[in-house]
Structures are given as C-alpha cells and as structure tokens.
C-alpha cells in the first residue's frame, strides 16, 4: 500500500492519484505486470536502516496500450516523497534497459521530491545513469515523460531528454532551483506554480508538449498520442482506415483574398487530413508555428505550418526551435513531413537578434536538410526571403513542392522590395507616393506569384486548393519507398 494510509490521504488531498492508480488508468485493463516489488534500499547512514520504504518509492513494470507492449515506471510520492535513492534508480534503469532491448516505448511518470539526500552521491549516480539511457534510447524508442508532481533539480533533465512531456495544471512542477533557493540567493519571491507550473511550461518555456486540466485528461492525451506514433524506429505507425476530411472544413473558403488578412492554418490542415483529425503538439507555445500529427490515407504524417493568425506567421527563435525538433523527431521515426507555408519573413527586433535568432533559425535549415523521410511542401500564400528557404523548400531537398495560385514567392514583400529597387525613381518623381504605389503594383504583378519560381523548377506544380489532398496523397504514396543516404559521418554539428 505504498507509503501507508496517511501518506496516501495526503496525496489524494492534493488532487493527485497514487502511482499505482495512475499506471492502471493508463494501461489496458489487466495488462500490468509489476517487477521489483520487493526491492529494498541498502542505505545505512542517518538511521536509514530503521526506515522501510516499500519498493523504494517507484513502481516499474510492463503492460499494454491498445494491445501493444510498453514499459512504464511511476514514482510513488507516498514513499519517502518519491525521492530517488540507489535502488530506486536501479529499478528505473532496469525498466529503461528493458525498453531499449525490446524496442518498446518507455513511459515515465515523475512524481518525486528529488534526490534522497541521505543517500548522497548514490542518488546523483542514479540520475546520471538515467540521463545516459534517455540519450542512448533517444530516436530508437519513443520516450514519454508525464510530470504528475514535483520534478526538481537534476531530476528535471530526464523529461527534457525525452520526446514528449505531459503536464497537468496545479499538479506538475518543474524547475532547476526552487523558490526557496531563489529567495535566499536572489531575494526574488515566487510561488512554485508561477515558477515552474504546468502553464508556465506549456506557454512560456516550451518544455512541455501537452497540457491537461486533470490527470484523467492527461492519460487520454497519452493514449491518443500513442495511436499516432510508431512503437520504435524500426516499425511503422499504425495504419488506419482512410477517411475523407469532414465537409465543414472547405479548403476553398479558408484563406482570405487579401494577403494581409490572417486565418487559422489549422482549418487548412483539417481540410486536408483524414477525418479532419489533427493532434496538435505544443499548442500554447510559439504558436506562430503549428506542429502536430494528422493522418493521410490512414498513415501518420507530421505537419509543420506557419500560423498567419499569430504574429503573421513569422519565424522567430521559439518557432524555429519548435519546428526543428519536431522535424528531427519525425525523421527519427520514419514519419513523413508535410509543410504548409505562409510567412512574410522573420520577426524583426533587437531582442530577437541579441538572443541569437540567427543560430535558432539555422536549426530549421539543418533539420530539413538532414531529414531523409519523405518531405512535401505546399506554399499557400507568402513565402518571402529566408523564410521561403527555411520552410521545406526544394533546395533543402523537399521531395515535392507545390504552390497555390495565390502563392507569392519572392525575396521580399512588394512594399519593401519596391522601396529598395525603385528608390531612385520614387525619390526623383514628381509625386513620390503615387510612383511608389505604381512600383509596388509593378513588382507585385511581376514577382508576387508562383510562376517565376515554377519557371525554374523550384516548385513542381501550381495546384488548385481543392486538389491539395489528392496530390499530397499521391506524393506520399510514391515517396514511401524513398531511400537516400547521407555522406558518412559520426553525426553533424547542428547549430546550438
């Protein structure tokens, strides 16, 4: 019974489920097999030999989700605050090794006060071994972290190394140095929730990928994610029956005629994917970029799209990070990447430049270039300058690049470009404003269309919006057997 009735009552009072309850809720009924239930700690310092800690504060085992095996561990906050000691970490390491050997996903439910101080360096050693395994398994098996309690100090690096992090409002807490330390050293007062609560990580830091209001909602999200992703890098994602998009998403009527007016790109995605089902990732962070999974003819595809509704869909530091990590995830697990482009460029600003937007932006170029999965791009409206290149262009070896007739592929927007190219004519004109307007219109007519790029073969064809789904399906089908190799190297040096 974990840490005893009193401890369990405390857990329930905080609105949290117990470790065992969580595992049973997440996995298929009657599928959970527990291991190492009788593991005991060996610590003898600080009177530890007098303490009985059941299972040393963590539950490990295997089970199934949707009938397919997964490895799982859940830290038990009712036993010594879920703190990590030597045997606790050995149990986690055991199940991590199993997951890698058997090539099944690893799900970790984190709910721990941190290192068990009484066990000293042994706790640190435990964490180190866990982080190493997170790294080695990265890109081989899906690793999912569910933060259902405090996850502080060094412990928080394990979720950071995993593929997806799930947080729950008022329950998840993640930070490196907690409020007490911050108050002592820096004199800044902040609550745990404001420092590293669920909303902070899903809206500001970008550390969390999925946000839920309750643990039950979180488990539903995990199960949904598992229906999209492959079980390992050697298997394909589940193929479901193909369903057409729902009729309420009419691709012809989403994008406004005026190129300066915004729309929600998710409506376009939903008008293209099976059953209009789009599973968005990191919905509340850097939302000028939209990423997520959708199905095309029953098979999972990753979507990377600019969101004109937020900040005109510009690229900036956070959105570049968001997109590039997702592209690399899809590349690791053989998931085709579909890119929808509508952006006017990069976000201007001293704060962006000084914070290093250059090296963050470069991550996208790196991720697209390195990816060997099928890559398809559709340019919907604007694709100016560096943004055109970064968003899965032919030059980064996208397999198929299509454009709608409303696409504008140019070095710059008409206003900016005309001001530079025709500066002399505008300045020397009798009516500069009128001349400027004329030149802008001239530039627009000549360059703000997809045909200049099409003339060079930079885009494969100009397609009608209504044809988008059919053409993408055809492209995905033919690119399935794609086989290319990169020059031999240990690994590249991605921009940091």
């Amino acid at each position: 019974m974990g840490g005893g009735e009193k401890a369990i009552e405390k857990q329930i009072a905080l609105g949290k489920l117990t470790a065992r309850e969580r595992i049973l809720k997440l996995l298929d009924k009657n599928s959970f097999q527990e291991y190492d239930l009788f593991v005991e700690h060996e610590a003898r310092d600080f009177d530890m030999q007098k303490k009985i800690l059941h299972g040393d504060g963590v539950i490990i085992g295997t089970g199934t989700i949707d009938g397919k095996s997964v490895c799982i561990f859940a830290q038990d906050f009712t036993v010594a605050g879920g703190s990590l000691g030597l045997m606790h970490s050995r149990k986690i390491i055991k199940i991590m090794d199993h997951a890698l050997k058997m090539r099944v996903p690893l799900i970790g439910i984190n709910d721990s006060g941190g290192a068990r101080i009484q066990e000293g360096v042994n706790s640190l050693a435990g964490y180190g071994e866990i982080f190493f395994r997170n790294t080695i398994s990265s890109g081989v098996i899906p690793q999912i972290s569910v933060i259902l309690g405090p996850c502080a100090g060094g412990a928080v690096y394990s979720p950071a190394l995993t593929d997806f992090v799930f947080v729950v409002n008022n329950i998840s807490k993640m930070f490196i140095t907690g409020p007490e330390v911050i108050k002592t050293v820096l004199g800044e007062e902040i609550s745990m929730e404001d420092l590293g609560g669920a909303r902070i990580h899903s809206e500001i830091t970008g550390n969390a990928h999925f946000y839920a209001e309750s643990e039950n909602e979180c488990f539903e999200q995990i199960k949904k994610l598992m229906t999209f992703i492959p079980w390992s890098n050697q298997s394909r994602s589940m193929k479901l029956e193909s369903k057409p998009p729902r009729p309420e998403y009419d691709i012809e009527n989403i994008v406004p005629d005026d190129p300066r007016q915004p729309y929600d790109i998710r409506n376009v995605i939903k008008s293209v994917v099976d059953d209009s089902e789009f599973f968005e990732i990191q919905e509340n962070w850097a939302n000028n970029m939209v990423i997520g999974f959708g199905r095309m003819n029953g098979e999972t595809c990753g979507f990377v799209c600019n969101q004109p509704l937020i900040l005109a869909g510009v690229l900036d530091m956070d959105s570049s990070d968001k997109a590039s990590r997702f592209i690399r995830y899809c590349d690791s697990f053989n998931i085709p990447v579909i890119t929808l482009v509508d952006l006017p460029g990069y976000l201007p600003g001293v704060d962006q430049e000084h914070a290093g937007v250059i090296r963050h932006g470069a991550k996208m170029l790196y991720a697209y270039s390195e990816a060997t999965v099928p890559k398809m791009t559709v340019i919907l409206r604007k694709a100016y300058g560096g943004g055109y290149i970064a968003m899965g262009s032919r030059h980064l070896r996208a397999d198929f690049v299509f454009a709608w007739p409303t696409a504008e592929i140019a070095v710059m927007g008409p206003e900016g470009a005309a001001n530079i190219i025709f500066r002399k004519e505008i300045m020397s004109a009798e009516d500069p404003e009128k001349m400027r307007k004329e030149k802008v219109a001239e530039y627009k007519q000549k360059f703000a269309n997809p045909y200049v790029a099409a003339a060079r073969g930079y885009i494969d064809s100009v397609i009608e919006p209504s044809e988008t789904r059919v053409i993408l399906l055809h492209a995905i089908e033919i690119a399935k057997q794609k086989s290319i190799s990169l020059p031999a190297k240990k690994h590249g040096v991605p921009p940091s």
Binding site: L186, A312, Y384, G385, T406, G413
Partner: protein, 114 residues
C-alpha cells in the same frame, strides 16, 4: 485571386493588431512574449552595473576619486564566491551607490563615472 471567402478571416470578431514585416503591414494577433518584450536601450557606459545579485564586501573607492582602468573597484559576494569588480575606464567617480554590507539585486548601478 480566388473566390470570395465565405468563412470570416481568422481575426473575425477578435480585434487584430498590425505587424510590419519588411515594410508590409499584416493584420494578426500578438503573442504574450511579443507584447511583453523590453524595448532595447543603449546602456550608459558611465554606469557600472552589477551582473549578479549579492552582498557588497568591500568598496575601494570614494566620490571624486581619480581611478585607473584595471584597478580593483569593489568585491561582491555572490553565488558562494567573492567576485572582484575592476574599473572599466579611467576617470573621475561621480557617485558611489553602495557601501559594505549592502545587499544588491542584479542590474543595480554600483558606481557612476563623470
């Protein structure tokens, strides 16, 4: 340039803002991070500012002193270490804003040159 939109453009009932990118104006929504960004101001070179919060252990200067670049200015205890600050320029000191024992935050103006 395509059919007239039946659906309302994304902003619809939400009030959109304007974002200017390379001379073109776009109607869109802002993110909180964008709204809260600090406008950049060129730092005043005459001010010496703390980079860490901490406690002042010792101050080696007084008002109206003439100092040389590279000499020791003050010692700040921060992050369990004694950090030595050196004069960034030679010149005359106008103000000394700290004394021994002061607990100062990050970004505090320690000393001002003329």
């Amino acid at each position: 340039m395509g059919k007239k939109s039946k659906q309302e453009p994304g902003c619809g009932k939400i009030r959109c803002k304007t974002l200017i990118v390379q001379g073109d104006k776009y109607r869109t929504l802002y993110t909180n991070k964008f709204k809260n960004r600090k406008k950049w101001q060129k730092p005043d070179e005459r001010n010496v500012v703390s980079v860490l919060p901490g406690t002042v252990i010792k101050v080696f200067t007084e008002v109206d002193d003439f100092v040389t670049k590279g000499e020791t200015m003050l010692i700040l205890e921060a992050m369990k270490m004694r950090n030595t600050y050196y004069y960034p320029h030679s010149g005359k000191i106008k103000n000394v804003n700290v004394k021994t024992g002061d607990k100062i935050p990050k970004g505090y103006v320690l000393i001002e040159y003329e």
